[in-house]
Amino acid sequence: VTEAAVLADLLVTEHAAVYSYGVLGARLDEATRRLALSAFDAHRVRRDELVIRLRARGLETVGPKPLYDVTVPGRVQALALAVRVETELGVRWRDLVAVTDDLDLRRLAVQGLQDSAVRAAQWRKAASTSPVTVALPGEA
């Protein structure tokens, strides 16, 4: 797997995260909606950071694709979707760590993996899922 392919996958997954958070926030309570809003903003920033790096490498920037079923009738499904969004992103960010020696990309990928693990844990906690954390986030 090449760096270019992983960056393209990441962009699709960040697009899907932005879209998912836009939808699922409507099914949450006050406290968790705030978490969804901050996640929405953070993923938009990440998506734009990826676009910048793809363009700097002369690579194509792909648009949004439907990645998840965002039909969330209630809070339980909304929280499950949020966990899934962050878990998938963790895998992609970890993939990037494994295919690049570029310091800037490594740094971005480590931060991306950390953030997704933190958010996944916060969502599991909100959903009262146990265990709240995983030992090796991003490792398939």
Binding site: A109, V110, Q122, L136
Partner: protein, 121 residues
């Protein structure tokens, strides 16, 4: 010399000291076991991932080192563990920048796990 060797040794030492900190906390505050034991066990998994051939230490509930020290409030103990987790997350995150492509993702996963521990503690 393979630069990964030193990075692995540092990561192993960090995980071992975290395990010790959790074990001491569990001795002093058995009432925190439901929260702390899963976190502790994830560090044991980290150790196993770093050195697959060396058996990970089992919990040592008879550790007496903390018995002589002043008993801390559970909230203080949790805050201290959270600080240790943040330190470990930062150290493993930095190590992941210079490690080989084989080791870097492992260190990045450890770092991410520890960042999540710090938040839930």
């Amino acid at each position: 010399v393979d630069p990964d060797v030193a990075l692995i040794a540092a990561a192993v030492a960090q995980e071992q000291s975290l395990l010790l900190a959790y074990d001491e906390a569990l001795v002093e505050h058995p009432e925190l076991a439901a929260q702390l034991t899963p976190l502790r066990d994830e560090h044991a998994q980290h150790l196993a991932r770093l050195q697959p051939t060396v058996p990970t230490p089992t919990p040592t509930p008879t550790v007496a080192s903390s018995a002589a020290t002043t008993r801390e409030l559970p909230s203080t103990r949790r805050a201290k563990l959270a600080a240790l987790e943040r330190n470990a997350a930062a150290a493993h995150g930095t190590a992941a920048l210079t490690a080989s492509r084989r080791l870097a993702p492992v260190l990045a996963s450890l770092s991410a796990c520890e960042a999540s521990h710090a938040v839930v503690l």
